[in-house]
């Protein structure tokens, strides 16, 4: 985040804050308070508006203050999106002080959670979050370039460093405590560095890396490194190098040498490797191989694609063309949006990763489509090329990678039409991922029917969760438990699905409860996934964060709370919606914006429903004009004008 324009001498004056709250009274009060703190304030009453503002220019704001309960979008959803897309610190606010809600906020990545009424003193301190984040990110980069072999860094360590570096001890301590606390909460994860916090960290790393569209050599000693975008090809090269060396032996230096990419630094590779390792760990930890498990995530394309949710003509056209570039998808979605208005619960914010199937490698080989990219899209028989980002267990890695590589090449090739598919990956989570029921169905094919789990929360399904690959993949999909239920009902068409190992599943949160009708989206998504594949940054896509409900459901089902989360996360990573990446480009910005679909509590696309005004026929006139008690019996205590 660039604060170059803030007068350093005056800091924190000039801090640019975006406040989002549906309550105009609160907005007014906060605005005044923030102005008194000498911040620059922008208020909006709708989350959708806020997102557009943020997207318009990433550097416009330093910090976001958001209410938790908003009619057009769940505050947590906004929180995730902002964190993923813009990587800005977000502070939640609510009159709701229940610990579990606060916890939810923290877990979704909130820098802080303020209880209303918010006091001036609290607002005076919010700048600390901005600084801390920046420091943490920078320090992490620096550390990554250091002793990297172990590949993991716990957050508390980072925070400890920050503590030393930062002069804001109180805040740091708090962060460190939070981190430790969070880590301990997730201690189910085998590596202990656990669930969301690691993902959070990774997410931040990834986001940061993605930010600039350039790959350039950075001065290792500088605290601000140009961001490296891990494009498909780059990641492919990386993976190849890792394979060549053997995952156990892959060290950044050697990987760098093998990759031989000009401008890439050892630090870049190191941090990427770190994420990769974490990812693998998750996969291997979660994966319980199911021999019979074919790609759970499959290629969305299936003969049974129904225009269903898309309902549409466009979809069919797409299918017909057998080619659905991400842009098309975006357009499609937009169209859906416009046409269906509220019916787009399907839309999910796609968090990008192609779903990686983490299944036993054996099936992978079989699954890899020989066909080229074009199959990806609407071809019923399409076997989506394995998503690059699928990182199955290590031992299978090489095998999978090979195949993926091929696929990737193809995919990449055909996505040429997509604007800079590999280049500008600022993966915008805003891509809508439309979970195709087909995909869901695919899941069902697997033993793991994780999907099934979701909806039914059946215990047996839950186990699916734990079964590695499917679990992972599924998770993103799973999140919206409700959609799962609908998925359950998904037709047997899914049976026909070829589950490609590599196919990425776009996990989006299935529709808002009950709307899981979209099947057709699947293929499209897949396409995108392949396109984007493997952006490590996808890792950060709050898989675990996306749908809180889903997560809960999943965890419940899987009886493995701590694990699920990481699992989900990794799953999410994979399930990315490549769409996201595709949509990232500016060309698609509009689309993207319109495609905001949040799986909130049944909220529909905010942009459609945002109510700009609170006016309603029932609005009463200015209170000063109101006589006493027009609302109710003048059961007043006769205090008219009484002094």
């Amino acid at each position: 985040m660039d604060r170059g324009d803030v007068d350093e001498g005056q800091f924190p004056a000039g801090l640019r804050v975006l406040v989002v709250d549906d309550d105009v009274t609160v907005l007014r009060v906060l605005k005044t308070m923030l102005l008194q703190c000498r911040y620059e304030v922008t208020t909006c009453s709708q989350a959708a508006t806020a997102l557009s503002l943020l997207r318009e220019s990433k550097d416009t704001y330093h910090l976001v203050l958001s209410d938790v309960h908003m009619p057009d979008m769940d505050g947590f959803k906004l929180l995730e999106l902002v964190g993923l897309e813009m990587d800005l610190p977000v502070i939640m606010m609510s009159a709701d002080a229940r610990t579990n809600i606060v916890m939810k906020g923290i877990k979704h990545g909130a820098c802080d959670y303020l209880i209303k009424p918010v006091r001036m003193e609290e607002l005076k301190n919010i700048w600390q979050h901005v600084v801390r984040k920046k420091w943490t990110d920078n320090n992490r980069d620096l550390e990554n370039s250091g002793s990297f072999e172990e590949g993991e860094r716990t957050i508390p360590n980072n925070n400890a460093n920050i503590n030393n570096n930062n002069n804001n001890n109180n805040s740091n301590k708090r962060v460190a405590e939070d981190a430790e606390y969070a880590s301990s909460v997730n201690d189910g994860a085998p590596d202990g560095s656990g669930g969301w916090k690691s993902s959070q960290k990774k997410k931040r790393c990834t986001v940061k890396e993605e930010e600039e569209g350039e790959t350039e050599s950075a001065d290792p000693s500088s605290s601000k490194k140009p961001r490296v975008v891990w494009s498909v090809e780059l990641h492919q090269q990386f993976v190849n190098a890792v394979n060549q060396l053997g995952i156990e032996k892959a060290v950044p230096k050697r990987i760098l040498e093998l990759m031989n990419v000009p401008g890439l630094t050892r630090e870049n590779v190191a941090s990427h490797l770190q994420k990769f390792r974490l990812y693998l760990k998750r996969l291997s930890g979660v994966t319980q191989h199911h021999p019979g498990l074919s790609n759970p995530f499959c290629g969305p394309v299936s003969a049974n694609i129904k225009p269903g949710p898309l309902g549409r003509l466009d979809f069919e056209t797409l299918v017909a063309s057998g080619h659905l570039p991400p842009q098309a998808l975006a357009v499609l979605e937009e169209e859906l949006l416009t046409q269906n208005g509220s019916k787009q619960p399907i839309r999910e914010i796609a968090f990008g990763q192609p779903l990686v199937k983490c299944g036993p490698p054996t099936s992978l080989t079989r699954q890899f489509p020989q066909s080229n990219l074009s199959n990806i899209t609407m071809n019923p028989s399409l076997d989506m090329p394995p998503s690059f980002s699928s990182w199955p267990s290590n031992n299978d890695l090489a095998q999978i990678m090979q195949q993926q590589q091929q696929q990737q090449q193809q995919v990449v090739g055909s996505v040429g039409s997509v604007p800079q598919p590999s280049a500008s990956l600022n993966v915008q989570p805003s891509c809508l991922v439309i979970p195709s029921s087909q995909q869901m169905n695919n899941f069902q094919l697997n033993d793991n029917t994780i999907l099934a789990n979701q909806s039914q929360q059946s215990q047996s399904q839950g186990s699916g969760f734990q079964t590695g690959s499917s679990t992972l993949v599924q998770s993103p999909m799973m999140l919206p438990s409700q959609s799962l239920s609908s998925l359950q009902g998904v037709n047997p068409a899914s049976q026909n699905f070829q589950i490609n190992q590599g196919s990425s599943i776009i996990a989006s949160q299935p529709s808002i409860s009950g709307n899981s009708s979209y099947t057709s989206v699947g293929p499209v998504i897949d396409y995108n996934n392949n396109l984007i594949s493997t952006q490590p940054k996808n890792l950060r896509f709050g898989v675990g964060q996306i749908v809180d409900d889903g997560l809960k459901t999943m965890t419940a089902a899987s009886n493995n709370n701590s694990f699920s989360m990481p699992g989900m996360m990794s799953g999410m990573m994979n399930s990315g919606v490549a769409v996201t990446g595709a949509l990232v480009s500016d060309n698609n910005r509009q689309v993207r914006r319109n495609n905001l679909g949040f799986v909130g509590k049944g909220t529909c696309l905010p942009s459609r429903f945002a109510m700009d005004e609170i006016d309603s026929p029932t609005t009463l006139p200015n209170f000063s004009q109101i006589g006493g008690g027009d609302l109710v019996n003048p059961d007043n205590f006769g205090l008219d004008g009484q002094i």
């Binding site: 549906d22 309550d23 105009v24 009274t25 609160v26 007014r28 009060v29 005044t32 308070m33 008194q36 209410d67 309960h69 009619p71 609510s94 009159a95 709701d96 209303k116 009424p117 006091r119 001036m120 609170i614 006016d615 309603s616 029932t618 609005t619 009463l620 006139p621 200015n622 209170f623 000063s624 109101i626 006493g628 008690g629 027009d630 609302l631 109710v632 019996n633 003048p634 059961d635 007043n636 205590f637 205090l639 008219d640 004008g641 009484q642 002094i643």
Partner: protein, 151 residues
Amino acid sequence: MDYVNLRRQAASLRKSLFDQGYLDEQFYQLEDLQDDASPNFVEEVVTLFFRDSARLMANIDQALDKCVKDFNKLDVYMQQLKGSCTSIGASRLKTECTFFRECCRDENIEGCMRSFQKIKREHSVLRQKLESYFQLLRQAGPIECATRPSK
């Protein structure tokens, strides 16, 4: 016009609002925010509050009238109202909102309706009082800002 007297009356009304629990600490914060740059800040915010809350309450009224017993929706509305109340320091209203939400949780429709009646009353009373208060302030002359006397 007896400005002094008016000011005294205003101060007294204000004090009673605090003493009787209509207003709380948050109101002080609002007053603190008022300054030359926004001389009528408190009144503006309060006005905003009553306008917005009236709308919310009408929604709740409608929802209750329909007898559909959609407790979730009622709870959501009430949460919004409560948030508003806290932001201006409307303490009694806030308490009553909390109680209403508890009734929602217990799915006690009767309790909800009773509570809502109470909320409406409190709302109305508060509005009148504050209205009077600001009127006094205005009458007492521009010199008088809604500054907090020694706390």
